[in-house]
Every structure is written in C-alpha cells, then in structure tokens.
C-alpha cells in the first residue's frame, strides 16, 4: 500500500536507511538495496516492502532492535546502514 503511494507521490517520501530511524519510527524497506541485504536477513523477514519499526537502541546506537514484518531482531548499525528504506516526511 504505502509503496504504491510512494510511486504515485514520490515527493511525500524520502530515501534513507534503517540506521537513520529514530526510536519508535517506521520505514519501509525499499527495492533498491535488495542485492545488499544479507541473505540471512531476507530469510528472517527483511523483505522489500516490509514495514520496519525501530524499537530500541543500545548505547551508542549500536546494535539496534527492530520489528520487521513481525520478526523482532537485533542487528548491528553497520548492517542497518546498508538496508535502504523509504520514510514519510
């Protein structure tokens, strides 16, 4: 749904990465970074179009605790920085 809105009104959204999410914020994994997402994360539910919510940050914002598609995962900042998302303004 949100992806369709994004395609119709691209100006309402901007590209970013999971690493830039603030606590509680939501983004949607973009198709663009598909090849860079590690296979294991794909398998655990980090699929393009999936909703990502940042639940908690460890000190120094690393690692981060996210909810993707109902999977609750902790990943490191370096991994989060390569997964592109689209975010609403």
């Amino acid at each position: 749904m949100i992806l369709n809105t994004y395609l119709c009104h691209p100006k309402l959204f901007f590209l970013s990465t999971i690493a830039s999410l603030l606590k509680g914020e939501i983004g949607y994994i973009s198709e663009e970074s598909l090849d860079e997402i590690p296979l294991k994360l794909l398998e655990m539910g980090c699929l393009p179009g999936a909703e990502v919510q940042l639940i908690q940050l460890a000190p120094l914002k690393d690692p981060i605790y996210i909810n993707v598609n109902g999977s609750h995962l902790a990943i490191r900042k370096e991994t989060a920085a390569i997964i592109k998302i689209i975010k609403a303004h």
Binding site: L39, K40, E43, L47, P48, P59, S71, A74, I75, R76
Partner: protein, 704 residues
C-alpha cells in the same frame, strides 16, 4: 501381529519454537547425546513409541531459520538432510513451527519440502493462539501445503497423539513432492541444466550443493565436477538465492492470506513493556548486574551444603573401606586413588548444575537475547560478540561447556577469541585452591564492619579473571590476522515462562558432559598421581627403615611417627623427585619443592592442588579435619628461605599463578576438538602459563 517398524525422524525448526520441549515430550528421559561423525556438534537422539507397531528414533537438530547455514550449529542441519545413505538419512522430517511466527517458520518448511523427503508440520503453541487472536484454517492449510499439518501444544502435551499418527501415515505413504518448485521461476533454463547433472537428486538438493559447497557421498566425481561449473558466477548465485527467498515468501504470503488470520486488537503488549526495562540503556544493565549477583551468590550459598555432603561421604567411604578391606596395593589404589578421584569429580556437580539451571532459565525466558543485545557493542570492542557473554558466564562453572557454547557465534574470529580467553574466567575448579590459600594468607577480618576481607579477596580474584579474559581478547583482536565476516543478527523472542522439563533436561545434559569430559581425565590422573606418590626408586623402599632408626631415640607417638614416615616417603617417591627437580625454576616465585609437587600434579587439573597438599602434609585419610591441613601448612617452614612456606608473598604469588595458568587437560582437549588443530590449545597452554609465571614472579619479587 505386525512386526515392529522403526522410523527415523529428524526434528527441525526455528529457534524458540518449542522444538526442544516437543523432543523432550516425545522421548522423555530416553535420550542420549552423541557426536555427528566428523564434526564436533552434539547429536541429540531419543526413542519414542509412536503406536503398538511403530517406534521412532528422533534426532533433534539444532534450531535454524533457514537451511542455508551461517554457523557451525546450523550447518549440521544441511549436512544431515543432504546425506543419502540409508543408514543415517531420515525417513520423515518433522518441522516444528510456532503459531505466532508462522510466516517466517514456513520459509524453512518450504525449503525442506523441496528436498522431497516425507514431511510433517507441527504448529506449536496453540494454547497461546486465542490470547493472541490467531486463527488457522487447518484444512485449507493442509491442502495448500500438501502436507499433514498438526496443531499441538508441547507445553500442555496436546495433539501429541495426532502428531504420532500423522508421522506413521506420512511414513507409510512415503510420497513427497516439492512445495514451491521455486527454482524454475527464477531461471528455467539454468535450473533445467542443473537438474540434468544427477537424476537421483531433486533440483533443490543440487542447488544447495552448489550454493553451500557441500557434496554428499551420493554424488559421483563426475557429477561433482559438473556441479562445480555452476559455481563460476558467484554474483549470479547470490542473486538467485535472493530471488529464491523472495519467491518463497510470496508463495507463503499467498497461502497464509487465506488460511491464517491475526486479530491485532487482541494482542497484548507484554513484550514491549518488559523490553522497555530489560533493554533500557541504564536499567537494562542494572538488571543484568543484579541477575549476575544473584547467580554468583547462589552458586556459593546453595552449593556449599551438597558439596560438603559429597566431600564428607567420599571421605567416609574411603576410611570405611580402609578399615574393612585387607591392606595391600589394591586397597590403597581404591581408597587413596580411585575413590578420592571420583569424589573430586562429583564435588563440582552442585555448582555446575546450579549455574546451568540459571543459564537455561535465562535462555528459556528469552532474556538471554536481551543480554546479547545489550553487550554486543561492548564485547565487539574486545574482538568478541554479544553472544560471547554466555560462554563467559558458563566459564565460571567450567570451561568445557563454555567452549562448546561458542558454536552459535557465526564469525570465526570472534568465536576463536572467545574460546581462547574463556579459560581465564574463574571456574569452579579454582575455588578450592583459592579457598585454602585465602584462608592461609588473608586474616579473617571484616572491612567496613560487615564485609569479610576473605570474601572480598575472592571477589577480586573473579574480577581479575574476567579482566584478564577481556584484556587478552583485546590483544588477540589486534594480533590475530584472521579475516572473517562478522555478520550479526539475533532474534528477540517473545518472553515465555520457562519450562521446568526443559531446564531439568538441560541441567542433566550439561552436568553429564562435564562428568564424562573432565571427569574421566581427573579420575585417570588421580590414579596416576597415586601411583607416582606411592612408588619410587630404590631409596624409596628404605625410607621407612631409615626414619624409624633415625628417630627411635625421640619420644614420638605412633601417629607422629607414621606422619613423619609418610612425609619422607613422599619426598623420595617419583613425584617428590619431580618436585625437587623443578625447584630451581619455581624458586624465584617463592615456592619450594612441596609446592612444586602440587604444581606438577595440578597441571592437568587445578583442583588436585588441595588434595596433593593434603597428602604432602601427611594428614591421615580417616581424619578429614581440614583445619589440621591448614595449621600444618601455616606452620611449615621453607628450608631455603627459613621463612614460612605459605607467607603472604608466596600466597599472593600462588593465587596469581592459579588465576592465569592453563592447568586443565580437559579444556585443552575440547579446544582441540572445537578448533580442529593443536595450534590453539598449545597457544593457550604456553601463553597462559607463561603469563602466570611472569606475573607470579613480579608479584613475589615486589612483595618479598
């Protein structure tokens, strides 16, 4: 009556799906831990009665999210499933999924289904479904998945009989078809060519062999060469793997859309509330610290009673047998070698069991993942991983299970560093050594009016162990030239009430691993020790006569005379000679030949130190009064220096030595097994013992 059929079942599922509980429910105490041929990962196997005519041998495979492995544990799943020999390949695969995370769980299921082995799907935790607003259209799901699907609750033991019936049915039918046949959607031409290589294997199996570089024996040399040709374009493989996963999820989403409904309004946010505390930047660490305090407190408090009991019982058995049996070499071997040896192993069980009970509870509740999350950044600074925390805590009981617990760490460098530094943590074998030395050199006083100075010293030794582990990890991180990708992802499972059954089985299993691993070595050593201490060259045999004639003019009681003889005998025994010959090397550390004996004997297992000193200070076996050992040690005079053997500088030097030195053969053996080379255990042996020597030398020279 029909003959009895045994079905080989492989139990597979994501972590945190209740797979282990289901295994325990199906097999009860009827399980054993073995080894997979060629690899070191434990293989858990159990027997179960399915019906009057069918039994099953169930193998509990390590939990994994996908058949594509990223750690040593997970690679077992792939290896087991690709194997095609009749003897060890499973007849039926039982996939366990968790009702709450069905979508993600079905990814693994869809991969397994494509292997074309008969498969049954058990959806677990149905007792939670209503509360979480989940409803499943079972019939439609069975049809879509083309598989027997059984709803179960491993916790409440519901649906288990249906599950058993389904397994038999599936085994009899023995038909299996792929679920997604996903590969053709990616690149039909490419996969057609792949399929042509071997008619005996499914297309997905061949694909796994190519992507995972794992070729079972059923593949001929020629076939393997053909498969290798498919590996040439690595980026293509990666791309196809990504596409495969996405197609699988599309298919799963399509199926679940019709059959699996979640009413989100019913969800309670217990996880969110607890996470706000447990993963909090300040409270999270505070809470973790409290739990650690609780664990260490209970190891000391709760374990001391059963430990004293075991100690006393074995001393009693020894002295009883000594009285009852006719004297001789065999009696001596039994009462001075074997029985104290067994006691020396069993005495560690209470502490190990209590520690592993706590660890099992922390893992079962889901809290351990939060600790991994909190600690990852800190541990990474020192070249380790958030997951290294579990081995480091386990190491306070025993390094052996701790080294095995590193298998979940997927980065080889981080795992190796963790393995190398784990023996620095204060294991339970060091405790008796610390206890007697502290009692000798630290006055029994209170500081600030309430805190025992002796207890404080012990705490400092724990801190010293951890600090050294962390520091050496830092040095290793800077010096080890190993390239390994350190990919890190941890699932944060829902909080659960721990299952008593799982905790109990886990404790039994870990304790057994210790008794069988370290126990054998400790027992064998105590027998060797007994031999070396009770035999010697020619001079040994004349000792008794010499002593008797030497001191015949002195007015000694029979007891005192016997003790003098025992002491002198030890001095002239093989072990005494060994002690004397290393004296020059240990003199700079402040030790004399008697301590030297204890150092040699405890080289293979630290805890032997106390027993050896007890023998040296010739305490009668049937007089198990430790204060006498302590008194004798306290008053003993070092013949070289003329000072007390165990004065303050020597005591501190010994404490430091035991904190650092690598004195555990069982640990070296397990490190060799886990790293597959003697290189790393030898580095541990010389590195740690060298550090111990240097530090003890410095400490002694400064203090004396």
């Amino acid at each position: 009556m029909a003959s009895n059929t045994n079905i080989k079942i492989a139990l597979i599922g994501n972590p945190n799906t209740g797979k282990t509980l289901l295994f325990n429910q199906l097999t009860g105490l009827n399980q054993k831990v073995g080894n997979y041929p060629g690899v070191t990962v434990d293989k858990k196997e159990g027997k179960s009665k399915l019906s009057a005519t069918h039994t099953a041998t169930i193998t509990d495979l390590p939990g994994t999210y996908s058949i594509n492995p990223t750690s040593l544990d997970e690679s077992i799943v792939l290896k087991t499933l690709l194997k095609k020999d009749i003897k060890s390949s499973p007849d039926v695969i039982l996939v366990v999924a968790d009702a709450e995370n069905l979508k993600r769980n079905l990814l693994l299921f869809s991969q397994i289904k494509d292997l074309e082995i008969p498969t049954v799907l058990a959806i677990n935790m149905i007792d939670q479904m209503k509360k979480k607003g989940i409803s499943i259209d079972l019939n439609a799901l069975q049809k879509e998945l083309n598989t027997e699907v059984i709803l179960i609750s491993a916790k409440k033991n519901e649906g288990i009989n249906d599950l058993k019936a389904a397994i038999i049915k599936c085994h009899v039918a023995a038909k299996a078809s792929p679920l997604c046949a996903v590969n053709h959607k990616i690149d039909a031409d490419y996969f057609d060519r792949l399929k042509e290589i071997s008619p005996n294997h499914s297309i997905y199996e061949l694909w796994l062999m190519v992507t995972q570089n794992n070729y079972p024996d059923s593949i001929t040399k020629e076939e393997k060469e053909n498969l290798l040709a498919f590996k040439s374009d690595a980026s293509k493989l990666k791309k196809y793997q990504h596409k495969e996963t996405i197609y699988r999820y599309q298919e799963i989403n399509r199926i679940l859309k019709e059959t699996y409904i979640v009413d989100k309004t019913k969800a309670t946010d217990l996880r969110g509330k607890l996470d706000r505390i447990f993963t909090h930047k300040i409270f999270g660490y505070f809470f973790f610290f409290l739990i650690l305090l609780l664990i260490f407190q209970s190891i000391f408090d709760w374990a001391s009673l059963p430990m004293d009991l075991i100690d006393g019982t074995f001393a009693d058995i020894s002295s009883y047998l000594k009285r009852e049996l006719s004297p001789g070499v065999l009696t001596d071997l039994l009462t001075d070698g074997i029985i104290p040896g067994i006691g020396g192993v069993l005495i560690f069980i209470p502490q190990i069991a209590i520690l592993f009970m706590f660890i099992a509870i922390l893992e079962e509740t889901g809290y351990m993942s939060r600790v991994v999350f909190l600690m990852d950044k800190i541990m990474r600074r020192f070249g380790m991983n958030g997951k290294s925390v579990i081995p480091l805590i386990s190491g306070t009981a025993c390094a052996i299970p701790a080294v095995m617990a590193t298998r979940t760490i997927s980065s080889w460098k981080e795992r190796l560093i963790t393995i190398l530094v784990v023996p620095f943590t204060t294991c339970s074998a060091r405790l008796p050594v610390y206890a007697i030395l502290i009692a000798l050199i630290i006055p029994n006083k209170k500081i600030f009016g309430f805190y025992s100075l002796q207890g404080f010293t012990l705490l400092m030794l724990y801190v010293l162990g951890f600090a050294t582990a962390i520091l050496s990890a830092y040095i290793l991180q800077k010096t080890l030239k190993i390239k390994s990708s350190s990919f890190f992802v941890v699932e944060m499972p829902n909080y659960k009430f721990p299952s008593v059954k799982n905790v109990f089985f886990e404790v039994v299993e870990k304790t057994k691993a210790f008794v069988l691993g370290a126990g054998k070595i400790i027992l064998a050593l105590s027998v060797v020790l007994w031999f070396l201490a009770s035999n010697g060259p020619d001079s040994y045999n004349n000792v008794e006569q010499n002593i008797t004639s030497e001191i015949s003019n002195q007015d000694l009681s029979e007891d005192e005379l016997n003790q003098k003889i025992a002491s002198a005998k030890l001095e002239h025994s093989y072990i005494g000679i060994m002690g004397k010959s290393i004296e020059p090397a240990i003199k700079p550390l402040g030790y004399d030949w008697k301590v030297g004996i204890a150092l040699i004997t405890s080289f293979a297992a630290r805890e032997v130190f106390v027993g050896t000193l007890a023998t040296i200070y010739s305490v009668e076996n049937d007089d198990e009064n430790t204060s006498t050992i302590k008194e004798k040690m306290r008053n003993d005079i070092n013949q070289n220096t003329g000072e007390k053997t165990f004065n303050f500088p020597v005591g501190v030097s010994l404490l430091v030595f035991y904190a650092f030195a690598m004195q555990c053969m069982a640990t070296l053996a397990i490190v060799k097994k886990e790293t597959n080379t003697w290189k790393w255990p030898l580095i541990q042996l010389f590195g740690m013992s060298g550090l111990a020597y240097i530090c003890s030398f410095i400490v002694y020279q400064i203090l004396s």
